[in-house]
């Protein structure tokens, strides 16, 4: 992006983006560690995630504060205005994703208190798809890639399909009531969190499309056939 004559403006935007990217890195790390806590039965890792969430919360506050300061001081217009608004919205989505990671970590901790369950591995494909969605969402923002941002809808459809399939399997196990119904319920809720992380990542992709091309595609994709092309910038 070209520079402003008024350098304070550029400095403030740079701080905002740096904090947002740090927030994204921490959020991805929290999700990775929460799922490893579940898949490897590592309760210490679960505790680490729960403690680390406050850093993400603090960064969300900081992004909001810098965003508001920029709105107050510099009255951004055009690309700058879209950048500030989308960055603040993306930070809200990242904070929610981190909250889901904490929820996963807490449920992993409870599951780990019982006998090891091989079936926790059933969640791995769902996690891989949710993680890929989050990674692509932030890549689309970082690389100004609105095509990638819009392509998340297709990945989310696949995530939804995997989620439905897994929920059916987990519900069947729950109905068997083999004495670990609480653990099966935890796994159902973890699957639900991963599905929500996909939705929140899609939101980030949509914000990126708006940032790059000023086209608002929210709430549109479910009405359109999957082969729709992304808008040209």
């Amino acid at each position: 992006m070209s520079q402003h004559i008024f350098r304070d403006y550029d400095n403030a935007i740079q701080h905002l983006q740096e904090d947002l990217l740090t927030m994204a890195t921490l959020t991805r790390q929290n999700l990775e560690q929460a799922m490893q806590a579940l898949l490897r039965g590592d309760t210490d890792l679960a505790n680490t995630v729960i403690a680390a969430d406050s850093d993400v919360d603090e960064l969300e506050r900081k992004v909001d504060q810098i965003g508001m300061e920029i709105l107050v001081r510099f009255h951004p217009v055009a690309t700058d205005l879209r950048l500030i608004i989308t960055s603040m919205k993306i930070s809200t989505n990242l904070e929610r994703i981190s909250d889901h990671a904490v929820g996963i970590a807490k449920r992993a901790r409870k599951i780990n208190q019982g006998q090891p369950m091989q079936e926790v591995q059933w969640l791995e494909p769902l996690y891989a798809q949710a993680y890929a969605l989050l990674r692509d969402a932030m890549d689309s923002y970082t690389n100004h890639d609105s095509v990638l941002g819009q392509a998340l809808h297709e990945k989310d459809r696949e995530l939804d399909r995997l989620h439905k399939q897994l929920t059916r399997s987990l519900s069947s196990q729950l109905e068997l009531a083999n004495g670990r119904s609480a653990a099966w319920l935890h796994l159902i809720f973890i699957a639900r969190s991963l599905e929500r992380i996909g939705d929140l990542s899609v939101n980030i992709g949509e914000e990126t499309v708006f940032l790059e091309s000023a086209i608002n595609i929210r709430h549109e994709y479910r009405k359109q056939p999957p082969e729709n092309q992304p808008p040209s910038p």
């Binding site: 004559i5 008024f6 350098r7 300061e69 107050v72 001081r73 510099f74 009255h75």
Partner: protein, 256 residues
């Protein structure tokens, strides 16, 4: 007062009158050094009058006077009869609404105050002029035409030349009375960027009718109304959460 001394400005119970008309009423506040302080408020609120009190420019207006109270700069009561007004104005420089270069060369404009205050050692003069023009972010644009007329510069360059002229005599405080009101947006951005850079070395007070400009350049903002100081706060606080309903009304444009 010396450049090393504190240049904090302390205003205490200040009343100022033009004849029988009171323009400033019981002002008490401190302006910290090495920061940008903006004065905002509707026309006639007294912000320019107060600005001119700081280097006693109002002395030139018949009937205008500080009727009570005081202004101390660096601990010195500037109203005291022992104060040398010429020296005060060297410490407290001023940039006006309309750029006012002398009809002489760019070099002479910057050197003028120096020659007046410090004599004419040529090499020192050359160095001081260069430093002032660099500080005013104008050197790169004029270094090859220092001896051309200042009147050939654009409006924005002329205003930065006037800032360089103020800086050359090494003041500790710079007063700016709507310095960008005659400039286009690009020239305004250059002057605003310069103001933010200069705050590392100087105490800057800017009177502006542009609330956006106050928000962009200042660290602190004072809002005046009918000669009274209504609110004086950090700029972000004043613009995002003003404490006084009159400030909020003025900022939101629901005033009156």
């Amino acid at each position: 007062m010396s450049p090393e001394a504190s240049d904090k400005i302390e205003v205490r119970n200040l009343h100022f009158c033009y004849g029988l008309t009171c323009a400033l009423k019981d002002l008490t506040f401190d302006i910290p050094q090495r920061q940008v302080t903006a004065f905002i408020g509707p026309s006639g609120c007294g912000k320019s009058t107060l600005l001119r009190c700081f280097n006693r420019m109002n002395d030139e207006i018949p009937g205008a006077r500080v009727s009570s109270g005081s202004i101390h700069i660096g601990g010195v009561d500037i109203q005291h009869r022992s104060v040398d007004v010429v020296k005060l104005r060297r410490e407290v420089g001023m940039v006006f609404q309309k750029s006012n270069p002398f009809p002489r060369s760019i070099f002479d404009n910057v050197a003028f105050g120096l020659q007046l205050h410090r004599g004419t050692n040529r090499s020192l003069l050359n160095q001081a002029v260069e430093e002032a023009l660099i500080s005013a972010a104008l050197w790169d644009e004029v270094k090859d035409r220092l001896h051309e007329s200042a009147l050939a510069l654009s409006g924005g360059q002329q205003q930065r030349l006037c800032i360089a002229r103020s800086l050359a005599v090494k003041p500790s405080i710079i007063l700016m009375d709507e310095p960008c009101s005659a400039l286009d947006p690009i020239a305004t951005a250059k002057v605003e960027d310069l103001i933010r850079t200069l705050r590392q070395q100087f105490t800057i007070i800017i009177v502006t009718h542009s609330m956006q400009q106050a928000a962009r350049v200042s660290d602190l903002t004072a809002f005046f109304h009918l000669g009274e100081l209504i609110e004086f706060s950090p700029t972000l606080k004043l613009f995002s959460n003003p404490a006084h309903k009159l400030t909020e009304a003025y900022l939101r444009g629901t005033f009156g």
